[in-house]
């Protein structure tokens, strides 16, 4: 292998047709509101954690829709669940339950089995 001093840069292009989404479907089953987002950004603008971090619920939802679940953890881990986003959401999305559901559906995929009825 020759070192040319440069190399191929990975494509920044989103390829969403390859998004195989059983996880997103599971999330949608738990919290159907996830489909209602109109990306207005009210949640992000009012976010208590957003004062200090890059937390953006709008972005989290979009990332999940685009199959980029790896990008959500750095944001969601800062959430204090204060619920301001739920108060400001014009579509009435149950944001807190959405966040809690994301925590159960996504996340480092090792770990425990869900309590089954």
């Amino acid at each position: 292998m020759i070192d040319f001093g440069y190399g191929l840069t990975p494509s920044a292009t989103l390829r969403i047709e390859n998004v195989q989404n059983p996880l997103f479907e599971e999330l949608h089953r738990r919290e159907p509101d996830v489909a209602k987002c109109i990306a207005c950004g009210s949640c992000t603008a009012s976010c208590s954690a957003g004062c200090f971090t890059e937390m953006s619920l709008r972005r989290v939802i979009l990332s999940l829709q685009r199959g980029r679940e790896k990008e959500i953890l750095p944001m969601l881990q800062h959430c204090m669940l204060c619920g301001k986003c739920q108060l400001v959401c014009p579509r009435g999305i149950n944001t807190r339950h959405l966040i809690l559901s994301i925590g159960k559906v996504y996340g480092p995929a090792d770990q425990k089995e869900e309590v089954r009825p």
Binding site: L14, E17, P32, A35, K36, C37, S63, R66, R91
Partner: protein, 339 residues
């Protein structure tokens, strides 16, 4: 004998205005260049926001044409001013002398092939909103083998100076959402994308339809204008856009792409405008005396407008304006003394 009024253009605006004029005691002479009346509405299958059949709106109108003289397959050869009247000569050899003319010349769908980068007319799987409507009407969406993903491209030829149309066509957003829902109803397994710049859900229940598309049908909305379309070796489409909410370019393989062609001024309108010496707007639509206060009155005596000849409108707006135009004509004819 009742007074004649010439109505040019037999779409919903022309038919509705003719019926109202007849109700007011005039004899409308309705001229339509196509073989049938109804304009674009005759081609459409279902209407937003509730999905009522276009037929259910148009048919009652077409069954109520008594007292209206209408000529299909007919165009206007010339219009001349004679004292306080207009002499209208038709392509079928007839002519009429009237005091009022209503221009309800409507619109043409933007010619999708003008947006070369979308490949309409080059790639089989790129179709227009009107063609999809044809398919819905025929009751069968053509089965390209294994259609898994389809996309709707909003603003094709609208809000696009390069395409010669700066204006928003107003109805395409909600039409796209309506068609996306219809498609999902027929083929729930298909993934449907809408590529939009803004979603202009201005009308009553339009937002509900949008919500339904998201919530019930899982239609995926991507904010970003499609930049180019190409074909892969199997004939699938490659669609490129920027996901502007995500801030990244996006590429997606599609099995079908529907172009939401916007409204452009009808081809024949400038010629008619020239015949009666009224100005055309910069955008190619007719210009009323006051766009706010007198939207159906031309700045020339005896000329009136209705419908999309003065800019994009929905069906209810068009019908409302047709009635308003009929009243404006009636008032004009009654207040100007007849010689």
């Amino acid at each position: 004998m009742s007074e004649n009024v010439v109505v040019i253009g037999g779409g919903p605006a022309g038919i509705e205005a003719s019926r109202r004029l007849r109700d007011l005691g005039y004899t409308p002479i309705l001229i339509e260049k196509e073989p049938v009346l109804g304009g674009h509405l005759a081609r459409w299958d279902r209407l937003f926001p509730d999905g009522v059949e276009a037929r259910s709106v148009l048919d009652p109108m077409l069954q109520d044409l008594d007292g209206i003289k209408y000529f299909t397959d007919t165009t206007v050869s010339s219009i001349n001013r004679l004292k306080d009247t207009w002499v209208v000569k038709l392509s079928n050899g007839l002519s009429a002398q009237v005091r009022a003319i209503l221009l309800s010349t409507g619109f043409d769908l933007f010619k999708a092939e003008k947006k070369e980068e979308y490949g309409y007319g080059i790639y089989e799987r790129v179709i227009t909103n009107a063609e999809l409507e044809d398919w819905f009407k025929a009751g069968a969406v053509p089965q390209f083998e294994g259609v898994h993903t389809i996309g709707f491209v909003h603003c094709v030829g609208s809000r696009d100076e390069k395409a010669g149309n700066r204006q928003c066509s107003k109805v395409c957003c909600v039409t796209a959402v309506k068609q996306a829902c219809e498609f999902k109803e027929k083929h729930p397994e298909v993934t449907v994308y809408c590529f939009y710049m803004d979603l202009r859900m201005f009308g009553r229940k339009f937002e509900d339809l949008y919500l339904k598309a998201q919530k019930e049908h899982g239609v995926r909305f991507v904010r970003g204008r499609v930049s180019e379309v190409s074909e892969d070796i199997d004939g699938h489409l490659f669609v490129k856009a920027e996901d502007t909410l995500f801030g990244k370019p996006l590429k997606i393989k599609m099995d079908m792409l529907v172009l939401m062609c916007g409204m452009t001024p009808a081809d024949g309108t400038p010629e008619l405008a020239r015949m009666v010496s009224i100005p055309m707007g910069e955008d190619g639509f007719l210009v009323p005396a006051s766009i706010v206060g007198a939207p159906c009155i031309a700045p020339r005596e005896g000329i009136f407008f209705a419908g999309t000849s003065t800019g994009p409108k929905t069906i209810p707006e068009t019908l409302g304006e047709a009635s308003a135009a009929a009243l404006a004509i009636d008032r004009y004819l009654k207040t100007t003394a007849r010689r």
